[in-house]
Point group: C2
Chain length 218, copies 2
C-alpha cells in the first residue's frame, strides 16, 4: 500500500538525489524527514521489499525505476497544487508549501490534470521549481546560486532553495521575487556580503543567504 508516509520517503529520496546518481545515506534521509535514523532504517526495509528502492546496507539507498516514477508524480502533484493555490486562490506564495505538503497525498489524478489545464500547463511552480510533466519528464533551465554570481551581472531571480516562510517573506519584502531583475553591485569578501540592486531597493545579503537564491541570466 502506498501510504502518505511512503510517498514522503520516496519524495525525499528524489529531492535529495534528483539525478539518480548517488546513493542517499540513512542519516541524510532521516534528517530530511525529521525522523530518527532507526525509523528511516525500518522504512527503508519496507520500501526495499516493495521494490521501490535498492538498499546496500551501511552504504545507502537509491530509487528504483518504479520508486522514481512514484516520487516524480508526488512532486508533480505538490508543485501543481502550490501554483494553483497561488494563481487561482490568490494565496501568498510563502505559505503554500505546507498546504501542498498535505494535499499532494490526497488529490486525484483527475483533479491534478484539471488544475494543469486551468493553469495552462505550467512548467515552474511559485518557488521556481520545475513541474514534472504527466509522463514523468522534467523541464530544465540553467540556474546558479546568487553567491556564485559576479559583480555587474544582470540577473533574474529563478528559484529559492529555502522554503522557510520567514525567509521567503524577507526575500519578497526586498524585491527578490521569482522573475525579478537584479544587478550585483558589490561583493565584499571581508564582510562576506553581496550588495544587490533590485527594482526599487538595494539589499545587502550574507553569502549564506545568497546561496539560497538561484538566478539565471537576465
Amino acid at each position: 500500500m502506498i501510504t502518505s508516509t511512503v510517498e514522503n520517503y520516496l519524495k525525499a529520496l528524489f529531492l535529495l538525489d534528483q539525478h539518480g546518481e548517488k546513493e542517499v545515506s540513512t542519516g541524510e534521509l532521516a534528517k530530511s524527514l525529521s525522523v530518527t535514523p532507526g525509523s528511516a532504517t525500518s522504512m527503508i526495509k519496507t520500501l526495499a521489499e516493495a521494490g521501490l528502492i535498492e538498499h546496500r546496507p551501511h552504504y545507502g539507498v537509491k530509487l528504483t525505476e518504479r520508486g522514481r516514477t512514484l516520487a516524480v508524480h508526488v512532486v508533480r502533484r505538490h508543485r501543481i497544487v502550490e501554483l494553483f493555490l497561488v494563481e487561482i486562490l490568490g494565496m501568498d506564495w510563502s505559505k503554500v508549501h505546507d498546504e501542498a505538503e498535505q494535499l499532494e497525498h490526497v488529490v486525484s489524478d483527475e483533479v491534478i490534470e484539471r488544475m494543469d489545464v486551468l493553469l495552462k500547463h505550467p512548467t515552474f511552480d511559485p518557488h521556481g521549481d520545475p513541474i514534472p510533466r504527466a509522463d514523468g519528464t522534467l523541464p530544465s533551465q540553467s540556474h546558479y546560486t546568487l553567491s556564485k554570481s559576479k559583480v555587474g551581472q544582470q540577473l533574474s531571480v529563478s528559484r529559492m532553495n529555502d522554503q522557510d516562510a520567514d525567509f521567503l517573506q524577507f526575500a519578497e519584502k526586498h524585491g527578490l521575487m521569482i522573475g525579478e531583475k537584479i544587478t550585483i553591485v558589490e561583493h565584499n569578501k571581508l564582510a562576506d556580503s553581496l550588495t544587490i540592486k533590485t527594482r526599487d531597493n538595494t539589499v545587502i545579503l550574507g553569502l549564506s543567504a545568497a546561496a539560497n537564491i538561484e538566478v539565471c541570466d537576465a
Copy 2:
C-alpha cells in the same frame, strides 16, 4: 489529536442525527462507517474520553457541543470542496463526493474561506445539501421526498439522499438534476411506481428510488 478518523466518526454522528435529538446506536454508527461494531465501541470510548460525545453504554451516543462544532466544520469543508470541484474545476457532480471525502481532512481554513469567497458564499452544494456557515449555523429549506409527493404536483428537485455515483448518473441521464422542474404524472400503488415528467423525458421510478430524491415546491 483530531485525526481524520476522529473527524469521520464525528461527521457520521452528525449526519445520522442532524438535529442532535436522538441518540445514535453503536450499530448504526458502525454501519455508516463500514467498520465492525467492536471498532465503533472502542472509538466511542476514545471520543467520550476526549469530551466529543456522550455515551450511555448499551443505549447510544450523542455529540457534545464541542463535538458537534467540529463535525459541522468537517461538513462545511466537505461541501465547499465539492462545490468548488464542480464549479471551478468543472468536475462531474456524481464524482466529487469521494474526492471531497479525502480533501475535507487536509484543507486549511484559509483555503476553505478563499474557496467560499470565489464561490460567492454558496448555501447549497451540488447535491442540494446545505453548506454550514463558518460560524457553524445551517441554512434551511423545506424539502420532502419524491415518494411522498402527490399526483399533479409541480416540483423542483432539491437534493439527493443517495451519494452512489451510479445512482447519481442514472438520475442525471433522466433529467433529475438539482433545480430541475418536474411534474408527478401518476402514482401506481400496485406497481409501487411513480411516473414523472421531466423537462424532456418521462421516467418511471420505484418508490424506493423515489425516496432517495428530495424535492420542494416549484
